[in-house]
C-alpha cells in the first residue's frame, strides 16, 4: 500500500544485477574508533529523521529555567536576577543529567527491535554500537546546553568567567554526562520495557538532582540532609560548573568530578558489556 503501483510493477530483482552484486569485494575490518564514530553517525541520522526526540532536550531546560527563576527566585534570593546568577549553572547540570536518561530508553527500544541482533552479528568491536549511541547523545547534551545558556543570557545571566569559563564548564558537563549514561545503558539491558527504564531512571534522577545544591544553598537544610547533599556527586558537579562560569577555578573539585566520571565508566561500562554480550 505504501509503494506506488509503478514500482511494484517493475521487475525488481534482476539476475544479472544480483550476480554482480554478489561478486563483491571483502574490505578489511575497520578499527574500534571508526566503528564507534559510524554508530555515532547513525544516532545523528536518527535525530535528523525523528526530530521529535529532541523535545526533552529543549522543553525540560526551558521549563525549569523559567519556572524556578520566576516562581521561586524572588523568595529564595531576594530578586529573580540574583537567583538566576546562582541557578543557571545548576539548571545546566540538571538539564544534562536529565537528558542522559534518554540514552537508556532509546537503547531499550532499539534492543526490542531486530536491528540490534544485526549489529551484534557484525564482526566489529563489540561495544561500538553502545559507544556510538553515547557519542550521538553528546550532540543532544550540546544542544540542551546551548539552549539553557542562550535562554539564561536573554534573561540576564552574566557569567563572570566569560566565554572561556562557559565553554570549559560545558566540556566538563559533556564528559560527565557521557560517563553517567553508562548507568542507563546498564539499566536498559536489565529492565524489559522502555517504560520501566523511564520509571526507574526518574526514581534515581529526582532525588539525585533535587537533593543537591542545584536550586538552593544547603546551609538552610537540616544537618543530616546537608551530609547527603555533600556526598552527592551532582553537588560537586554543580559547584564546579558554577565556579567555572563565575570565574573561580575550583581545581580540587574539578579533579573530583573527573575521578567520579572515570569511576562511572569503570564500574558500569564492563557490567553493561557483560549484559550486552549475554543478552538473549
Amino acid at each position: 500500500m505504501n509503494a506506488t503501483s509503478a514500482e511494484q510493477a517493475s521487475a525488481p530483482v534482476t539476475e544479472d544485477a544480483l550476480r554482480s552484486v554478489l561478486a563483491g569485494e571483502r574490505p578489511s575490518s575497520p578499527g574500534p574508533v571508526l566503528t564507534s564514530l559510524t554508530f555515532g553517525w547513525r544516532a545523528l541520522l536518527k535525530i535528523k529523521h525523528v526530530p521529535e526526540q529532541l523535545v526533552d532536550v529543549t522543553m525540560f531546560p526551558i521549563m525549569f529555567t523559567l519556572m524556578f527563576t520566576y516562581l521561586f527566585g524572588g523568595a529564595l534570593a531576594g530578586s529573580t536576577q540574583e537567583y538566576l546568577q546562582f541557578l543557571l549553572p545548576g539548571i545546566l547540570v540538571q538539564a544534562n543529567v536529565m537528558i542522559t536518561m534518554n540514552t537508556g530508553i532509546t537503547l531499550n527500544t532499539d534492543i526490542q527491535k531486530g536491528v540490534f541482533d544485526r549489529f551484534r552479528s557484525l564482526p566489529v568491536w563489540r561495544p561500538s554500537p553502545l559507544v556510538g549511541a553515547l557519542l550521538g547523545d553528546v550532540m543532544r547534551y550540546s544542544i540542551g546546553s546551548a539552549i539553557v545558556i542562550t535562554l539564561g543570557l536573554v534573561l540576564g545571566f552574566r557569567p563572570e568567567g566569560g566565554a572561556v569559563g562557559v565553554v570549559l564548564s560545558v566540556v566538563l558537563l559533556l564528559v560527565f554526562s557521557f560517563c553517567l549514561s553508562w548507568l542507563w545503558t546498564m539499566l536498559s539491558l536489565i529492565l524489559r520495557t522502555p517504560n520501566s527504564v523511564a520509571g526507574v531512571s526518574m526514581m534515581v534522577m529526582f532525588p539525585l538532582t533535587f537533593v543537591s545544591n542545584i536550586f538552593v544553598d544547603p546551609k538552610t537544610m537540616p544537618g543530616w540532609l546537608q551530609a547527603v547533599v555533600e556526598v552527592n556527586p551532582i553537588t560537586h558537579l554543580a559547584t564546579v560548573v558554577r565556579g567555572l562560569m563565575h570565574g573561580s577555578v575550583p581545581a580540587g573539585e574539578i579533579g573530583w568530578v573527573l575521578v567520579s566520571s572515570v569511576l562511572l565508566v569503570a564500574v558500569f561500562g564492563p557490567i553493561t558489556m557483560v549484559l550486552y554480550r549475554n543478552k538473549k
Binding site: A3, V13, T14, R19, K113, V115, R118, R120, S121
Partner: protein
C-alpha cells in the same frame, strides 16, 4: 557432497522451563539451500541465533564454516550473514542510509560504500525507494532491504529466518529468486520456514523440527514419501458413474479411493503423483466425464501428522502425562 558448512552436535538452549532447542544434530553441506521446517515455537529462531553467535548454547557444540560458534565467534561473524525474522534494519533510516551504515562498519570507504549501497538497491529493485525511510516500505520491500543488508559483504553462508512469512505470493517469488541467485553464486543458504511448499521449492535438504528436536531429515522427496504425495480430488459429470470411477482410479493409483460427501466426487491419498495423469486418461477411456480435478500438495499439517502423530498447530503435549 562437499565439506560441511554447519555441523552441530547435541545443541541445547532453554529459557527457564522452555526447552527451546533440545538437542539438535545437524550436518549441512556447503552450497545449496538447507531448509529448517517447523511450526511456531519449534525453536527455529533460537537455533539460528546460536549458529549466528548471538546466543550461547547451554550444551552441545556447533561449527559454522569450520569455526566454533563460541570460541571463534568473531571468525564466524565475519563470514556469515543473518537476516532475522523481524525487521533487521533501522526503520527510522532510509534504505540507502542503512546500507551505507553497514558498508562503513564493514570497512568500505565512504565512496565505495555509497557505490555498494547503490548497487545493492538496484539489484533488489529498491533504487526508487533509496531515500525513503524503511518504515514507509511495503512488507515485500522491507524483506528485500533486510536481505540486501545481509549481503553488503558477500557472506559464505547466510541465515534467513522465515524470509517469506507474511508476504504476498509475488513478493514471495521475488525472495525465492534472490535465494536462487545467491545459491547460483555459491553462497550456502540456511532458511527456516513454516511452509512445506517453500521448503519443497527451494531446499535441497530439509530438517523438520518440533519442540526443539529434529524429527525428520532428508530431501523433500524423501519427506514426502513418508507422508504420501498429497491427495487427488475428482468430480464427475454423472454421479451414477461414481462406483465405476472408484474402481478405475483404485486400479491405476493402487491406493484406497474414498467417495466424498458430494455425490459426484471422489478423493484419494496418493503415493505416486506420476500415476495421476494416467488415472485421468484411464477415466476418459472408460467413458467417464470429469468436470473438475485437483491435486493437493500434502500440507505441513499432514507432514506433522504423519511424523509426530499430532497436528502442527497443536502445542499442548497431552502424551507427556
Amino acid at each position: 557432497m562437499g565439506k560441511l558448512a554447519i555441523e552441530t552436535r547435541g545443541l541445547k538452549k532453554s529459557f527457564g522451563k522452555t526447552h527451546a532447542v533440545a538437542g539438535v544434530d545437524l550436518a549441512v553441506s556447503a552450497g545449496g539451500v538447507y531448509g529448517v521446517l517447523g511450526p511456531n515455537g519449534a525453536g527455529k529462531t533460537t537455533a539460528i541465533r546460536m549458529l549466528a553467535t548471538l546466543l550461547h548454547p547451554d550444551a552441545g557444540e556447533a561449527q559454522v564454516l569450520g569455526y566454533d560458534v563460541v570460541r571463534d565467534a568473531r571468525a564466524v561473524r565475519s563470514r556469515v550473514g543473518l537476516t532475522g525474522q523481524f525487521a533487521s534494519v533501522d526503520e527510522d533510516l532510509t534504505g540507502v542510509e542503512n546500507l551505507l551504515l553497514l558498508a562503513r562498519l564493514l570497512g568500505y570507504s565512504r565512496r565505495r560504500g555509497r557505490e555498494r549501497a547503490a548497487d545493492l538497491l538496484d539489484a533488489f529493485g529498491l533504487a526508487e525507494a533509496a531515500d525513503r525511510q524503511v518504515k514507509k516500505y511495503s512488507g515485500g520491500m522491507r524483506r528485500r532491504i533486510d536481505i540486501a543488508a545481509s549481503l553488503v559483504v558477500t557472506p559464505e553462508l547466510i541465515f534467513l529466518d522465515e524470509p517469506t512469512t507474511g508476504l504476498d505470493p509475488r513478493s514471495r517469488n521475488q525472495v525465492w529468486e534472490i535465494v536462487r541467485g545467491m545459491v547460483a553464486e555459491g553462497t550456502t543458504v540456511l532458511l527456516t520456514t513454516q511452509y512445506l511448499d517453500e521448503a519443497d521449492q527451494l531446499a535441497d535438504r530439509i530438517a523438520v523440527i518440533d519442540h526443539g528436536k529434529v524429527i525428520a531429515e532428508g530431501s523433500s522427496g524423501q519427506l514426502k514419501a513418508s507422508v504420501g504425495a498429497g491427495s487427488l480430488h475428482v468430480r464427475l459429470r454423472a454421479p451414477e458413474q461414481r462406483a465405476e470411477a472408484e474402481r478405475v482410479l483404485a486400479g491405476v493409483l493402487e491406493v484406497q479411493v474414498e467417495p466424498s460427501a458430494d455425490p459426484a466426487a471422489l478423493s484419494a491419498r496418493i503415493s505416486d503423483p506420476e500415476r495421476v495423469a494416467r488415472s485421468l486418461a484411464e477415466l476418459s477411456r472408460s467413458g467417464i466425464d470429469v468436470t473438475e480435478f485437483a491435486l493437493g500438495q500434502p500440507s505441513l499439517d499432514e507432514v506433522f501428522l504423519a511424523l509426530t502423530g499430532h497436528a502442527a498447530e497443536e502445542t499442548p503435549e497431552e502424551d507427556a502425562a
